[in-house]
Amino acid sequence: MSVVLKIVKKALPSVSAYFVIFFVLIVIMSFFSGKDQEKMYQATELTIYAEDKEASVLSKALLTYLAQENEVETEYDKELLSDLIFAGMVDYVVYVEDGFEESFLAGEKGGIERLSTKPNMAYVDQKIEMFFQYVRAELAMGKEMEEACASVLKNTEHRAVTEVLSGRDAMSTRPGYFFFTFLAYIIPCILIMILGPVMHAFYRKDIKMRTDCGKVSVRKQNIEVVKGIVVVAILVWALFMGLGAVIYHRDFTMAEYLLGTLNSFTILLFSVAVSVVLGVLLPSVDALNGASNILGLGMSFFSGVFLPEHLLPDYVNIIGEFLPAGWYMKNVRLLNVENAATTHFTEFLVNCGIITAFAVAVFFVFLVVVKRRKAA
């Protein structure tokens, strides 16, 4: 077992970077998530300065239409507006002159002046052109101007409803949420990098030949290696769980934290299994480092570790169903539901069972690889 620990000790410097990344990530995510997300959404409104000299049915309808999604100012200090235009601080100005409606009915574009000192002009221009098209369409149906404008205003008054899902039903604002989330990334990476070299060393063909010649039985030697691996894996897990308990104990109830701990234990089992397989299969320690990055980042991306599930394309979420980290993340999301410990307990355990099944399957692969090597 001491040899296992010595090999792990040699791998620790390269792993320390992962610890740093992990804690920087959760600190950053915790900081941003601490703000009230409902306040983070605000629909953009432009300030439109308007003057309607004509005051026709069409011009009034146009200003009403613009006011549906923007702030339309009709009473303002004209000198101030001149200053604002000069300073380039005006979103949009619309000036309707006499003969606007007449010009419109004649199919011309006269009677209206528009101005903007910001890049928003194209957007408001487009909105105004759309309004004209709607009115023309209504008029083409044989309606009078008043009726046509009323119809257009009625049809366009509906705005898209934007609702921010609040609190624990969506993305949690609790920093502890990110702690458990990023464990799905950090535990496989770290274990591959520290346990992979152990397996790689002990299953190197020439070393295996030499150890097989020893007086100590192969079984006893294997037990020593297994003991070392178990101790290291438990130490890594206990380190994270201990830190999590110290830093985030206020974010969770005891039951929630215990469930999170159980969940992380299953991902630990899977990570150990993957580490031993890769350690035996890959040709070098450098290859193991590469594999830890590919597997850690890849699995985390497809499982929604880095981005919330609802922001990911459907196909990514489907791929996540075939990854243990995907099931792990389901459980982490369950932890954000109020009273998850009681209401979703069975579902939580089933998910844990699925992750454990992944671990067993990978470990079975390890046994097959070792058996085949022995036969060769």
């Binding site: 040899v3 010595k6 090999i7 040699k10 791998a11 070299p197 060393a201 190197r204 020439d206 070393i207 030949m209 030499r210 150890t211 097989d212 010649c213 020893g214 007086k215 100590v216 039985s217 030697q221």
Partner: protein, 315 residues
């Protein structure tokens, strides 16, 4: 002398290939026994079978009077192995490596400490005990490899091509070390395709080709098995056909070849062969330059018994 290793009728197949073909060997206590043969002749396979690292199809192997099996740990404890490839942990220092491999045989820490120190001193790695293998040169790595195999003071030590790809100085150091281990009482099995090494080191030699035992005996016994007793090379600028014919007629001369001004005369075991050849050349008025006389080598033995050069096979 007691028999340490006895291999009877050993057969090992890899699918269609017969790697070891009805091999019989007997190695006595205190010998340095050489297994000589070209690459792929089956030397390492014999060693792997002997150590129960691989299963074999037929035959029986007895070591120290006990049947060798993978779980015969009492016998394994009396064997030391120095494999062809340097088999050490890159993550452990020189001391830690030797200590770990010694721990596979010796449980007692204090005893092991002494043995590790002795092994380090034996291979001359005292100044490198805290070095990691990657910091060692090829020669030092080979010495570490040997130290890992002998630290527990085994009675039988198997060296599988321990001098491949190292400099002559390290090679000599290793060969001297092996002879010292033998003097200290260890029985040695030494496999190599370097016939000079085997000839210099081994008290008995088995020549192996294509998995078969071609010949076995001391180097003198092996050389006496072949017709060639002495090879004389004479630089002769011009050699007439009459003179060539006359050389062939000399007593003890087996064959004469003449190419590019060099006459190669192979003689059987008679005495004064060089004198007779030179007398004949003088009498026939044939001028000659430098003269070389060589006793038969293991290459000659290999050539005569297999019909091919051992050197060629190696290359």
């Amino acid at each position: 002398m007691n028999t340490v290793v006895k291999i009877e009728n050993l057969v090992k197949r890899y699918k269609e290939l017969v790697a070891v073909d009805h091999m019989n060997l007997s190695i006595k206590k205190g010998e340095i026994f050489g297994l000589l043969g070209p690459n792929g002749s089956g030397k390492s396979t014999i060693i792997n079978c002997l150590l129960s690292l691989t299963e074999y199809d037929k035959g029986e192997i007895t070591v120290f009077g006990e049947k060798m099996r993978a779980d015969n740990y009492s016998v394994k404890g009396r064997i030391g192995v120095v494999l062809q490839n340097v088999a050490v942990f890159d993550e452990l220092t020189v001391y830690e490596n030797i200590d770990y491999f010694c721990s596979l045989y010796i449980k007692d820490k204090e005893q092991r400490k002494t043995l590790v120190q002795e092994a380090i001193a034996f291979v001359g790695l005292e100044d490198f005990t805290k070095f990691y293998p990657k910091k060692l040169s090829g020669g030092l790595l080979r010495r570490l490899n040997i130290a890992c195999g002998i630290a527990h003071k085994p009675e039988l030590i198997i060296f599988d091509e321990p001098t491949v790809a190292i400099d002559p100085q390290s090679r000599n150091k290793i060969l001297e070390g092996i002879m010292e281990l033998n003097r200290q009482g260890a029985t040695i099995i030494y496999t190599s395709h370097y016939m000079e090494e085997v000839e210099q080191l081994c008290s008995r030699i088995a020549i192996i080709d294509k998995g078969q035992l071609v010949a076995t005996g001391t180097k003198d016994e092996l050389k006496s098995m072949i017709q060639t007793g002495e090879t004389i090379r004479v630089e002769v600028p011009e050699l007439t056909s009459e003179a060539l014919f006359g050389l062939q007629k000399l007593s003890h001369v087996i064959s004469v070849e003449y190419n590019d001004g060099l006459a190669i005369i192979k003689c059987s075991g008679g005495r004064h062969n060089v004198l007779h050849v030179l007398e004949y050349l003088s009498n026939t008025g044939t001028s000659f330059g430098r003269v070389f006389a060589e006793q038969p080598t293991l290459n000659d033995v290999f050539l005569e018994v297999t019909g091919k050069e051992l050197r060629d096979e190696v290359q």
